[in-house]
């Protein structure tokens, strides 16, 4: 997995792509498990080109996001990769 802002103070937003899984497929898989993320170019095509990707997945956490939610995201991302690759 490639995380685009691993060390950056960017609030609760994490942009990433999974190796071998298109961001839209990742988002669709997560949605089927009631995990809402955004996938695509995020109205930032030049940023995508600069990062060398066509699209990313963007997950965002806020005050209502629990540690269990994050753990579930991690678990489902593993399942997602098994599903598609």
């Amino acid at each position: 997995m490639r995380v685009f802002n691993p060390d950056q103070a960017s609030g609760g937003i994490v942009s990433f792509v999974q190796d071998g899984v298109h961001p839209h497929d990742t988002a669709e898989f997560l949605a089927s498990h009631n995990i809402a993320v955004r996938a695509g170019r995020h109205c930032a095509p030049m940023a995508m080109d600069n990062a060398g990707v066509t699209a990313t997945v963007r997950a965002s956490a806020y005050v209502y996001t629990s540690e269990n939610d994050i753990a579930l995201l991690e678990e489902k991302l593993d399942e997602c990769r098994s599903f598609f690759v």
């Binding site: 298109h22 949605a31 699209a55």
Partner: protein, 146 residues
């Protein structure tokens, strides 16, 4: 999206073609190439064709896209090879014009039925359509009329 809907969208045929797309690559003896892009998601695709005597003698594609768009291109490419240019253009036109209401098209062409769930989702319809738009436009560019 329920688990059943997910399984329908990523039907085993879709996944088989997405993992091992048919006719993937660039034709060495291509006499026409055409590329396209889904501007909303950034997917890119390029088709290379060998047109001979009014037929699609050979075709191949390369893409950077999701499972649905890759499978759609793979299924379409396999189907149009050795078809007449008019047949291939009509096929593309009929699917593209059907939009979400593609049941009648699928009755005629059940080999594409696995694409129907994606066609029902507006944001994923463009994933299916990308390959078909490129092939249609390539054929129109070759002077095919229907």
């Amino acid at each position: 999206m329920s688990n059943e809907e997910l399984r329908a969208l990523y039907h085993e045929t879709i996944m088989r073609h997405a993992r091992n797309p048919q006719h993937y690559g660039h034709l060495a003896d291509a006499n026409y190439t055409r590329s396209g892009k889904n501007s909303s998601c950034g997917d890119t695709m390029e088709f290379s064709f060998s047109f001979r005597e009014g037929r699609v003698h050979a075709a191949a594609f390369e893409s950077e896209g999701c499972a649905v768009s890759t499978a759609s291109a793979s299924l379409l490419t396999a189907f149009i090879i050795e078809k007449t240019a008019v047949e291939a253009a009509l096929l593309c036109r009929n699917l593209l014009e059907a939009g979400a209401d593609a049941e009648a098209f699928m009755d005629l062409h059940p080999e594409f039925a696995c694409l129907l769930p994606a066609l029902k989702i507006p944001t994923r319809r463009t994933c299916v359509h990308l390959a078909w738009e490129i092939v249609r436009d390539a054929l129109l560019e070759q002077g095919v009329s229907y």
